[in-house]
Amino acid sequence: MLLRLDDVRRHFGGVHAVDGVSLDVEQGSIQGLIGPNGAGKTTLVNVITGYTRFQSGQAWLESDELSGLPAHRIAGLGIARTFQNIRLFKDLTALENVLIGMHVRRRDDTLAQLGTLPVFRGDEQERIKDAYALLESVGLPSSVGPRHAATLPYGDQRRLEIARALALRPRLLILDEPAAGMNPSEKQGMRELIERLNADGLTILLIDHDMRLVMGVCRRVAVLNFGKKIADGTPKEVSTDPTVIKAYLGTGGEREVRSAPGATGVDEEREVEQAAGSSPAAREPEKAILDVEDLTVSYGAIVAVRGVSFRVAAGEIVALIGANGAGKSTILNTLSGLIRPESGTATFDGLDLANAKASEIVKRGLVQVPEGREILARQSVMENLELATWARRDGATTRRRIEDVLKRFPILGERRDLSAGSLSGGEQQMLAIARGLLARPRLLLLDEPSLGLAPQMVDEVFRAVEEIHKDGTTILLVEQNALRALAIADRAYVIETGRILLSGSGDDLLHNPAVRRAYLGG
């Protein structure tokens, strides 16, 4: 065993981010680590690499004990890592980034620098040569060397980060979502790179949301959920494990896990093809309150949404479902005017959303409850709600409006004077929704309302969503918890890497195995 974890635990307050995980990574293997959003994968990596302290448990890299060591020592022992949100030295050149990676094995030259002895010139030439070789080994041409890291295209930045990690000459390389935000061909390139590095003898711990990538390159995959390891095995074993499917697709409230699409998995391939081919396209409503045509959105070089079209009629609940990074939140952010589309149109009640100001869009009645809730943690519940209405002049109406909203969420009424940060995750989500309601939405955009919530809380949040809908608010819902979203949605669209893969009524999709495929890969 190269890396051995024994009952590693890390709690943040009441959140059990990593809750007794044991894991073995074999020398020379590619070990996958997957899990839904908030499962504790990154926390586990941070514990292994010394960024977050061990609470209890132990870890060894071969015979070296890791617990209690600071991050730079662990790096020195030979665990290199990349970061989920690329952390290059942005204002330095690509070459300098790799050279810094050689820090540990570079001889101290402080005094020699003062004398500028020629001895070091040779040394430096050697290192520069090494650095260029490393750039080449991750597929970056030497012309990239003198360019500033920040100016490189996104995919190249990912590769540069790997080159920098390799400069440590690691025994174990931990890749934290190396393919996040990449298009299919870039992902293919990343997959080839990972396989090539492994073929050269490097042990890799791979964390990614892209199941196709993880299932494709890993010999073993461990699955985390709510900080616990729920499965560990070959990709095939893991992807058909009912616990894993439940963790990814969520639960449909009273529905049984059994009904998870494709969970029985008789002859999956054919089943999927049939389903995908015969899938009834959702009947698009004639009179739409929201009309999205061929919407394309990019972040610099990354195309997050590619030619998406859909409609929402007044009074509907429409769900956009799909795995992490599929582009769902980007669509919502574009609709509420936070991001501008590259091409395509979006109209809400006659208003051109591609060009209208975000404030105009809210005034027209399109209100977004953002992912991650974004409440003001130090302010009280009441203050959070009052701030949402500060632009209004008539105090009495506002007050009445707040009381109305609190009646719908009695638990918030009880806690009106508590600071919002002290509420549980579910209550915070309700506060975020309540705040959205104060803007008198006609179309409410909900972004991942169940994110990071325990199952009972998810039930409660969804009950609230259904009630709001009954009162006449149209809802566009973005969810990872597909089964739950499909259970309440009139219609739904399955999004994968920025495209609409399938659409249909909530019920149709609930029984469609292609949905599972979109999440867990094939």
Partner: protein, 305 residues
């Protein structure tokens, strides 16, 4: 204007009639380099005036009371500043950004109000009058400036400098490359304390008087030193020195402005910060500043994360 005319028409006369000004530029340049060092390692430390005070008072007091040779006095002053730097750095360097700035200002003010203005030996509010040897005058100061700049420049090119660069850009990423972040920050902090203390000792000997005022060893001085670095730019060692040169010369550059000198100097500084955010010495040209109401062609989406 007369000032600059004389500089070119009669350089020798200029040199002789402005020794104090030239010395002050040299000393400010040394302090600016000490500031560069902490900023280069990603630390917004404003502790320099405190270390200057240590340098000034230690060297002058030794001279007044023990009559030891000036070289020894300065050496002791510099070493003492290094020790104080270590003691102050241990708790304070855990802080980052503006919190570090506030904590170091706390150190500066505690030293000035709590020690210098309270201990009889320092002359308290009256300062210290002395008739020490002016330490060789202008040539020594300018040679010191060149040496300090050279040493710091070479250090930034070595292993130490690459670690500082990494820490400045991203501490977390630096840790992942095996860089002992806390140690390298401490090295930079102590080196900058040594340099500031040396500048303080030179300055005290230049003036025959150690002035405990705020503009000498207090927040005002700290802000002035920070201005050297921001104005000159921190991309290159020479940047803050150029900043020090310009700031020290401002009263002469805007000689004709009379009472409005401070307003005009302020506008000049703001203009530099808007149009050359990277500082006067740095890569690239003038920043293009587009007012918010200016029509834009096509909005680009922000990058994710």
């Amino acid at each position: 204007m007369d000032f600059f005319i004389q500089l070119f028409s009669d350089p020798i006369g200029f040199w002789n009639s402005h020794t104090l000004l030239i010395s002050q530029i040299g000393i400010n340049g040394i302090v600016a380099t000490s500031m560069f060092l902490v900023l280069y390692s990603g630390q917004l430390s404003l502790a320099a005036p405190g270390f200057m005070a240590i340098g000034a008072y230690t060297s002058v007091l030794m001279e007044l009371y023990w009559h030891t040779p000036v070289v020894l006095n300065v050496a002791v002053a510099v070493i003492l500043a290094g020790i104080v730097g270590l003691l102050v750095g241990l708790p304070v360097l855990r802080l980052r950004g503006v919190f570090l700035a506030i904590a170091t200002i706390g150190f500066v003010e505690a030293l000035r109000l709590g020690v210098i203005l309270n201990v009889p030996i320092t002359g308290e509010g009256l300062g210290l009058q002395h008739e020490a040897d002016p330490l060789g005058g202008v040539p020594i100061i300018l040679v010191s400036l060149v040496m300090v700049v050279f040493v710091v420049w070479r250090l930034t090119k070595g292993r130490l400098g690459s670690a500082w660069s990494a820490i400045r850009q991203d501490e977390i990423a630096a840790l992942s490359q095996g860089i002992h972040v806390a140690r390298y920050k401490m090295i930079a902090f102590i080196l900058s304390a040594l340099i500031a203390s040396y500048a303080g000792a030179l300055e005290a000997h230049l003036n025959f008087f150690v002035d405990p005022g705020d503009s000498q060893y207090g927040v005002t001085r700290a802000v002035q030193i920070l201005t050297f670095a921001v104005l000159g730019g921190t991309g290159f060692v020479i940047g803050p020195v150029v900043g020090a040169l310009i700031v020290t010369l401002l009263p002469y550059i805007f000689e004709g402005a009379g009472d409005y000198i401070n307003i005009i100097a302020g506008i000049f500084l703001i203009a530099v910060i808007i149009f050359r955010p990277q500082g006067i010495v740095g890569r690239g040209g003038l920043a293009i500043v587009r007012p918010a109401w200016w029509p834009r062609s096509r909005a680009r989406a922000p990058s994710p994360g």
